[in-house]
Amino acid sequence: MANTLFDKIWDKHVVQYVEDGPQQLYIDRLYCHEVTSPQAFAGMRARGLKCFRPDHIYCMPDHNTPTHDQDKPIEDPVSKAQVDTLAKNAADFGLTHFGMMNPKNGIIHVVGPERGLSLPGMTIVCGDSHTSTHGAVGAVAFGIGTSEVEMVLASQCILQQKPKSMRINIEGELAQGVTAKDVALYLMSQLTTSGATGYFVEYAGSAVRSLSMEGRLTLCNLSIEMGARGGFIAPDEVTFAYLKGREYAPKGEEWDKAVAYWKTLKSGDDAVFDKELTFQAADIEPRITYGTNPGMGIGITETVPSIETIPEAGRASYLKSLDYMGFQPGQKLLGTPVDYVFLGACTNGRIEDFRAFASIAKGRKKAPHVVAWLVPGSWMVADQIKAEGLDKVLEEAGFELRQPGCSACLAMNDDKIPAGKLAVSTSNRNFEGRQGPGARTVLASPLVAAAAAVTGVITDPRTLM
């Protein structure tokens, strides 16, 4: 048998194999946010159904929430209606809801792990492609559509074709200034945005093992950007230390029992993967993107690829992309003026990301022409920033902290990058218009974002460390 960790978790959750069809998979945890759930709840009402396992489901708004004045009603009536609809649906269907201003609120993919709601060995879904984030704790976690959200509400199951398995090993030590974000951006440019489509990825190797839980969450978060349905890391002592004592994690004897089981969650030495790739940590430098999909990335000291390196069928898309970004083939991006900097999102909105940003900002000043939005991923992260005094460091450097939410990652609230402006962003997607119509996005790590924020141009953070 294949004997991969993916097989172990997935196969355990198969309720039945549908003849000549998909598998019926049991779901341990469903997260609902306000954008992709209302039509699922409406479908439940239309069919006259109740939630099958309400205690397995957690709801919170994050996409539309403003990042200021959250104690006041949301100004945009359409956003407000969507956030209110989630609260009403949760109440009507008897589901736990962490509403705005609830200290447990934040971006769903930040809150799940930090509250101990996402645990090793679980199957976890949400109507959001970045659900892969939760794979960092050793869970099989993936994004689904709204029809599938409705399936889980109704039956705690979905019908899925089992993906193939892939292991990606990153060996060696990451150099100074190179983060989990750079590893992910590197993998995307190596595999392209469709290189892992149809696969579930297990990340392994010494460089992955030595990542903190925050780094692992960032790496798994970006699995979807190379097409993978999900990515995960086998749980280990880093995982257990992170989860211990968290609010919804098991306690006492239950904890010991759980850890004993979690320790069995690893791929066998004889495990066979449908695909296995190995990369060297030493080959990775701080990275940035230059185009309009996350696979269009380069090392920060490299140049935008020339047209000759692009396969014929992809050239029209490539030129459209560079035209949108206002970059030229062969151009070096170091020194390019930056208008906006965004630190946050389910990708890089955790405490370690704020520590990294503050380490560059400390003793420096924000470049006067740069608008910087620093958005913690949750209230828990916001509180930790204060507890560590990072808020003071950032304030002295001319930065202001905002309130938690998805914010400028997809600009469903007011945090929109204006048309034509160039943003260095720690989020996950540089698609056309993603951060606002006409906005131009350069994806990067919190260190690169901080370096851009203090110098006002795209800067190699290693020169400031």
Binding site: E19, P22, Q24, T36, H63, S147, E148, T193, E225
Partner: protein
């Protein structure tokens, strides 16, 4: 919309771009609806490609070119990458497409199309390139998509290919059934699983 799917013969709308992501299919600012009115999403399909920044129609975009039309969208490889938003499938269905042909689909989006009775048809790179060429030479080129026999035929060249779909989903599409109907009939199996794994 739940509708039975059998054989569709139609002209096509060509979109020869690769990596068309769901943010382009339906931008995030149109995701604030709390209902599933496909007409609303359909009106905003490829919104930022259909309209210029000043709100005027972008005459160069294929959906605004009266030369092309039909129930089949033909797109470059890796169609539907990015966000899991099912609104993208609602927009495609709401606009009136019943089939999307590409050489590669992102898989969350592919499932979303199937769950909305839009058929994603995966063809070879060669077939796709030839089909784009046929449509360019003659916008009235017909394509036949035969779900029962799982074949797609470029009527201009006569070239035909078999496409894959699992038997269960094919049955659902041909009979306008969805997965919830199936799951609700299987609650005893779900409870049995829970009993074993509690």
């Amino acid at each position: 919309m739940k509708q039975k799917f059998d054989i569709i013969t139609s002209t096509c709308v060509p979109l020869p771009l690769e990596n068309v992501d769901t943010d382009q299919i339906i931008p995030a600012r149109f995701l604030k609806a709390t209902t599933r009115e496909e007409s609303f999403f359909g009106e905003n399909l490829f919104r930022d490609w259909r309209y210029n920044a000043d709100g005027t129609l972008n005459k160069d975009f294929v959906l605004n070119d009266p030369t092309y039309g039909g129930e089949i969208l033909v797109a470059g490889k890796n169609f539907g990458s990015g966000s899991s938003r099912e609104h993208a499938a609602w927009a495609i269905a709401g606009y009136g497409f019943r089939v999307v042909i590409s050489s590669f689909f992102a898989d969350i989006h592919k499932n979303n199309e199937l769950n909305n009775f839009v058929l994603p048809v995966v063809v070879s790179d060669d077939f796709l390139a030839e089909l784009f060429a046929s449509i360019k030479a003659d916008p009235k080129t017909l394509v036949e998509v035969d779900l029962p026999y799982q074949t797609v035929t470029n009527k201009a060249t006569g070239r035909s290919e078999r496409f894959e779909i699992n038997g269960y989903k094919k049955y659902c599409l041909m009979n306008a059934l969805d997965d919830i109907d199936f799951l609700l009939e299987n609650k005893d199996k779900i409870e049995a699983w829970e009993g074993k794994n509690a």
